[in-house]
Symmetry: none
Subunit: 231 residues, 4 copies
């Protein structure tokens, strides 16, 4: 025996799920609430009734999808918090790639569309939900970079690493869509192989940045020491 409350909750859930699918497929503008309602098996007035407007549904659907995505693929990638930073980086990269490539988790595609085609509806959501993830990555990267590297370079590294994950996945997905697989230069056959590549490529990059920074620090110290040391 279902209470009206439960009915309401179920309809809301169906609408959120349907909205997630359609928004991810077509973006905000090309999505019609008629299609969302239909896929959710609900009335065409249901969206405005339950959420107030298409715009509100949009951000709610994103939060919903993002939470589900994080639950399915924890950001540490299953690596223990006290593992060496190299392994933790690998874990985070794998988690990110899995979140993006998981066909059941559409949050990433929302985000991507939103960045390309800003509605301005997700800016707050981004800061609240995405930032912690990036800071978690930045923190591992800083560990690997050591103390000599300044903040800007650390940010550069973090951005570069995340970008290596995001961009190729986007391109791959787009070019492979439409049924026919596209076997051109953009193709990534194996998520795990690509993850290993990004890790080893980036660890080398990080090491180089670290080396330069440390050399600079030593040089400065020597200079300072020489200046101050000689009477």
């Amino acid at each position: 025996m279902k209470t009206p409350r439960e009915d309401t909750a179920r309809t809301r859930g169906k609408l959120l799920a349907a909205a997630g699918e359609v928004f991810a497929e077509k973006g905000f503008r090309d999505t019609t609430i008629a299609e969302i309602s239909m896929r959710a098996g609900a009335n065409i007035a249901a969206v405005n009734y339950h959420f107030g407007s298409k715009e509100i549904l949009y951000s709610e659907a994103w939060r919903h999808a993002f939470a589900k995505s994080l639950q399915a693929h924890p950001p540490d990638g299953g690596v223990a918090a006290d593992a060496p930073p190299e392994q933790r980086l690998m874990g985070q990269i794998m988690a990110l790639l899995r979140r993006i490539s998981d066909k059941d988790n559409r949050a990433f595609w929302f985000m991507h569309r939103e960045i390309a085609n800003p509605t301005g509806l997700l800016t707050e959501v981004v800061r609240e939900e995405i930032m912690p993830l990036r800071q978690r990555t930045e923190s591992v990267v800083r560990e690997l970079l050591g103390l000599c590297v300044n903040k800007r370079e650390a940010r550069f590294c973090e951005m570069g690493i995340v970008s290596q994950c995001i961009n190729p996945m986007v391109v791959r997905s787009r070019l492979n869509q439409g049924g026919k697989e596209y076997d051109g230069p953009f193709r990534i056959d194996d998520i795990e192989a690509y993850a290993r590549h990004v890790v080893s490529f980036s660890l080398a990059g990080i090491a180089a940045v670290r080396a330069v920074a440390e050399a600079r620090r030593v040089k400065r110290k020597t200079k300072t020491a020489g200046k101050g040391g000689r009477p």
Copy 2:
């Protein structure tokens, strides 16, 4: 003394420029030909008169913007063709970052929107115009990688490098828009500094990939030699 031909060319040009601006700002769907016409100082029927449809204008505007973009920032970045590959890579990265960040060149934003929100109108255009650029980059990367690295890893490297350029620029641009500068973790203050970072980071990454591949090759040879050499 204007001939009708010249008139047409001028109006077409104005429409292309206006279309470039508006499409880049708002994407295909949210752009109205009314706004394009208004910005071009033309009648609302001008778009259909000169181009036939909004869709055709879209792809024509992209070609126009892309050609202008390439002309303003040659893909070699001003580096001679016989310079060492490290410098040529730097040149290409600089050229790419400049093309993306140049506020007068909107082609990149078209492309980015198109990938995020495919209209299907630019697929051919991409393959014809973008591929050569990526192949040019891949070719420098392969030079730096040496002969031991297989094709897939070369592609991974090329994709990673290009991604490091594209993605942060997108995010930076989006978050900085709306008048207020956003001084958060995504910000890139200095294009040139970021270019140098990407080059040194990526050269180290490439060297690492190369080293691994060469070690693998040596190992195999030794194994083979051992197998065949000792009875």
Copy 3:
């Protein structure tokens, strides 16, 4: 107490009636859905909401009008099925003329416009709905023609009879429109008088055709008999 279903049915009905009027007056192309909606007391979006498109409304309105027309003027003209064929022909002709001249039944004008200015939207409808009527007429005509008349001449007769009904009515209607009655050579004052004329004119025509055919048959038989009979 109106249910939504009843509301829909009423609005649909009003739209069908209004569409019937306007399409019959102006034809498909010159009819605007704005006018139909206005006459039906509905919003301009109502047509697309209830029917999907102007084209669908067109053929639905025709079916609606045709059904109403048949109901108002049964095709046998009130003559019993076992009456002599002359009377049944009279009944059908009267029914046809009444259907055409009835100002409340617009189906005929649709048809006429459609034939003159084909939209291709009614072809199926014609075959499904008009054919049975013509076959009914042809069947009476064949009865009157006897067995000697071949199929082609029977068809000629049927076509000629129906044409005598349709064409003058069309011309009469057109020339009388615009407020001023046109009392020229095309005018038919009295539907019933014209029906009687068509019947007697055509019965004589049919008899002549029948006589010729029977004479031909007798001649052939005699010839054959003569040929075969004499050794």
Copy 4:
């Protein structure tokens, strides 16, 4: 060496011919000046330049086509003016059927469309040009009807005969269009056979009408004679 006058005349002629084709194919509303101009190899402004408006071109094109049609198929059908009325009727019917079925003469289709879908642009033209033809037919019919038949019945006969020619041709043409021949009940295989059918069918009809009228006359006279005859 062409004078400007000759150029103008030629362009006008091409426009008239092209307009004749397109108007006959598509009707007034669905015909665009652009298509007429294109088919005539003229500028899009040529129609308004040479004729003033689409409407004027429409009626001019009709006059042009009608004159050409009459020239190609003289209304007497090649039968001498002193031939017996039966033969003259046959001549006129043949001429009418030929005019209608001649694929190079589009005037009839104009007319038909105009009647079905009145633009009001041809009403005067009709009265001026069509009436004489119908009066010519009516005059033969009256000859065959004799003096006892009243004016209304003569008109009925004439209308019926002409209708037998017009209507089946229209239907035949429409149903056979679209490339595929339609071998249904409407088909007329042989213009000449149909003409013979109409003549013999109608002569019988005329004879019947005449007989009835004469019987009525005799009856009245007898009655009158009887009335007046008895003292």
